[in-house]
């Protein structure tokens, strides 16, 4: 049996899914290791401007630079920031390669701020150590990556959305099925190894504005990788440890109090008073933020109006030209000026993002998932608090290890029955003559997530939420797409549906509270180390059911003393009167 003509098949050695941050590094490193290998970078948008850093980035949040901190210091910081539930080997592997990655990027032309002696101009933002390195010209980062991809002759395929992974008879991942977002045609990519770099799942919750695409994350990062990994049988981890961030109200971009922090800015309550000790994003910090929002001292603001004119100009330059440059336009539209008023903040919708918290597809220190032939890096994979530099480093690690893995492997036979049934499932909304538009389906789903799954988490609410989300599976045959673009959105909505289920199932499994607001479980308000000092793994069991299990935390490679363990527990500014 051969596949019909409407299915395009491409063979490569290494397939990288997602061309944002980690993906380009994975592809470049794979080509550096073996210039003859066929390495494909698959991107749902366009590699030139895709992912979380489509417009650039204003700095490194986790630079481990000699003279300022050691890899061991960093491992301690992240262990305590994540309440102890970390694969330290994974954090250490990042930390040990952090500086060499900065040097590599520097040699590629990425400009990092330097002081008058020519050394990297490091800023202290974290509770314990010094890890922040500004990138005042960070708007050009994607251009620099793109030049490297072209120079290494990586095969780039834009506007293809990966939807399902393929596996061979031995259970190794052997490629993917993808949908052309412009033509609504199916492409099968056969590969000896797959590296997933699909970004955060940032479209699970609904922003407070109600605008579906006004999310904190780039909304193209909607959990494609989380869903693909789940259906292929990989384990995901820490999904109950949501990402929730402090943002500019309505604009929903980062307020970047931690960027302004070294310049004197801070997060304040309605009285203009500081109420948190440290603006570095953590669950404990977010809990205090939430308490202030809900209490009589709210709302919460970014306070800069006490700063000097030249300082404010510097802040405006960094914050209005890099990561989210429409920010200045948003302020102008409302007549907001940092010089004369504080700027209202709010909290984001929930999401899964290892870049800022700890949730994602489980990987080890080699970037390996629990499935052979499948690697993961960046916001999608489980190494906590990785940010942009962690995505680069793990992209590099995955490129290296996948290159080694494919050396003696051949391409696998295609499972044609599976491919044909997936083709029909993926294209089904186009065959309808009427039905539920993807936008309405998605709005309802994400509204249910806000109503029932946001913290503070309550069992009864999550029970109802999960039942209502599961009931939406009955609506899937009614999904209706009028064109290729709406078909893309329909398939994205199904990935979001998977992620919403994961959020509920993982949250109800961990019967304790941990990570401040991220897993504030009202029915179990205390942290319970004796039963829950473990990872929660989520996977599809042999009956096709979504299931969780406990995974012990691997013994630490860097021990923490008592002071270091509690550093992130005391976030609220203490009264001094």
């Amino acid at each position: 049996m051969a596949l019909p003509d409407d299915i395009n098949v491409i063979d490569v050695d290494i397939l990288v899914i997602g061309g944002g941050t980690a993906g380009p590094l994975a592809a470049i490193t794979a080509k550096e290791k073996d210039p003859d290998a066929k390495v494909m970078l698959l991107e749902k948008a366009n590699v030139k401007r895709s992912g979380a850093i489509s417009m650039g980035m204003d700095g490194l949040n986790n630079a481990v630079v000699p003279g300022h901190s050691t890899p061991e210091d960093y491992v301690k910081e992240i262990t305590t920031a994540n309440d102890g539930i970390v694969l330290q080997d994974g954090v250490l592997a990042y930390a040990e390669r952090s500086y060499s990655m900065i040097q590599k990027l520097d040699s590629w032309g990425v400009y990092f701020q330097k002081d008058e002696t020519g050394e990297f101009d490091m800023k202290k933002v974290h509770h314990l150590g010094t890890y922040v390195l500004p990138m005042p010209e960070g708007h050009n980062i994607k251009k620099i990556l793109y030049r490297r991809l072209r120079r290494h002759r990586v095969i780039i395929e834009n506007r293809l959305q990966a939807i399902r992974l393929l596996k061979d008879k031995e259970g190794a991942v052997s490629g993917c099925i993808a949908l052309s977002t412009r033509e609504a045609t199916i492409t099968v990519i056969r590969a000896k190894a797959v590296i997933m770099c699909t970004g955060a799942a940032g479209r699970i919750g609904l922003p407070a504005s109600g605008y579906l695409f006004g999310t904190y994350e780039n909304p193209s990062n909607c959990g494609d990788g989380h869903s693909m990994a789940y259906h292929a049988g990989a384990e995901l981890s820490g999904l109950e440890c949501y990402q929730i961030n402090p943002l500019l109200k309505d604009y929903n971009g980062p307020a970047c109090a931690y960027v302004t922090g070294p310049l004197g800015g801070y997060t304040a309550n309605a009285k203009g008073d500081r109420f948190i000790e440290c603006d570095y994003w953590s669950g404990a910090m977010m809990q205090e933020f939430y308490n202030e929002l809900q209490g009589g001292n709210g709302p919460v603001f970014l306070k800069l109006d006490h700063l000097a004119e030249e300082t404010i100009q510097e802040i405006e330059h960094v914050l209005h030209t890099n990561e989210r440059p429409s920010r200045g336009r948003f302020h102008d539209g409302r007549g907001t000026d940092y010089r004369s008023s504080m700027v209202e903040m709010h909290i984001s919708e929930i999401g899964f993002c290892a870049g800022h918290s700890a949730s994602g597809v489980w990987i080890n220190e080699k970037g390996e998932t629990t499935l052979p032939g499948l690697y993961g890096a960046g916001d999608m994979a489980s190494i906590p608090h990785s940010y942009m530099l962690g995505a680069f480093v793990y992209g590099d690690i995955c490129g290296e290890n996948a290159s080694e893995y494919v050396r003696d492997r051949d391409l696998s036979e295609l499972d044609e029955d599976y491919i044909l049934s997936e083709r029909d499932r993926i294209l089904a909304p186009l065959k309808q003559t009427d039905g539920i538009p993807p936008s309405q389906f998605e709005y309802k789903l994400r509204r249910l997530v806000n109503d029932y799954l946001q913290p503070p988490k309550v069992t009864k609410k999550m029970d109802i939420g999960l039942a209502r989300i599961l009931a939406m599976e009955n609506d899937i045959p009614l999904l209706y797409a009028r064109d290729a673009h709406e078909l893309l959105r329909a398939n994205e909505a199904l990935h979001i549906l998977d992620c919403a289920k994961m959020a509920a199932v993982a949250s109800m499994y961990r019967q304790e509270s941990r990570w401040g607001l991220y897993h504030n479980y009202v029915d179990f308000p205390q942290t319970n180390d004796s039963e829950w000092f473990c990872h929660v793994q989520l996977f599809k069991d042999n009956n096709g059911q979504m299931t969780c299990s406990k995974k012990p935390v691997k013994p630490y490679v860097v021990e923490l003393d008592e002071h270091e363990k509690s550093a992130y527990q005391k976030m609220r500014v203490q009264q001094t009167n």
């Binding site: 030139k48 401007r49 895709s50 417009m55 780039n218 429409s326 539209g333 209706y480 673009h485």
Partner: protein
């Protein structure tokens, strides 16, 4: 299930006099992460076809003729 069509104001505005899509330019369409800019079949110029904008600005920054303006979506502004 019948479908209605509702009007929505879109945030990305393209100046037809400046847009050179008829010369083959597809820059803004290519760089949009959400794939919401398409050619308007009637005018031959680029336009925002779907109200799904992250107000991220590659379309405006990369346009060779400064034809694109990104506004903040009305619900957020």
């Amino acid at each position: 299930m019948p479908i209605a069509s509702q009007a929505t104001i879109v945030p990305v505005v393209i100046d037809d006099d400046k847009c050179i899509a008829e010369k083959g330019c597809r820059t803004c369409i290519d760089v949009c992460p959400l794939d919401v800019l398409w050619i308007n079949e009637e005018t031959g110029k680029a336009h925002m076809k779907y109200d799904e904008c992250w107000y991220c600005m590659p379309c405006e920054a990369d346009c060779p003729t400064d034809a694109v303006t990104v506004n903040i979506p009305y619900l957020l502004s």
